[in-house]
Amino acid sequence: MQTLKINGSEREFPAGQMPQTLSSLLDHLDINHATVVAEIDGQVVKRNDFAETKLNPGQSIELVRFVGGG
């Protein structure tokens, strides 16, 4: 098993099935890339870098999703 901590909760993936990049994690969670602010271990990752940002087991990922209205 490999784990990622997503918004404070541990999430387990069978070996070899953990998403490799931030972009594939967002797709796995069905999250729209255009409306989420993503942080890995406290560092914000810009949307243009989602696809090339590799994930490592044990990382803490914060995904803040936005809906419209203001």
Partner: protein, 205 residues
Amino acid sequence: MPYVFYEMKKAVIGIAGLGGLGSNVATALTRLGAGKLILADFDIIEESNLNRQQYFLDQIGRPKVEATIANLSRISGNTEFVPKQVRLDPQNIPQVFAEADVIAECFDLPDQKQMLIETALAEMDRVIVVSVSGLAGVGKSNSIVTRRINDRHVLIGDGESGVRPGVPLAASRVGVAAYHQANAIAEIIINGMKVPEFGGSDADA
């Protein structure tokens, strides 16, 4: 002369968008005695804005930045207003808000919210962002909460109520969110530019 928080007088706050959130946040911060507000918006006032935004019938067609300053100048002479008639983008955000201690994210569209927050957090050194997600409809006042994401990001709202058919933006609930936003900004400033835990009692502050 009303009581003024000394820390507020020294504070510079950027307001990104002067719609339902921004026009109300700017009003509250002016009444709180903020030292300087950087007011950024590209838009003009339309009649449809008046159901929730702090403008008047005789201001329809005027730029929101200009009308906001006209209105706030009638509230207080103690706040400096910096007009920024501009469409904010990743290139200009760091310059427009270079002086700001805190930025209020007051946009309407979710991809614009995302753009502002990632730019401010990734491209600016110290600024704190207070953002909003989930405020459409009426009622459910107590589902709107203020939450610390990290030491530079605060999120307000219920996290899920987007605008959709039958669930419009309304003055009362947008106002709840806007005043959460202004209240969080005041708390951060009075707390010495540190983001607190936003607990429910004084003991948590």
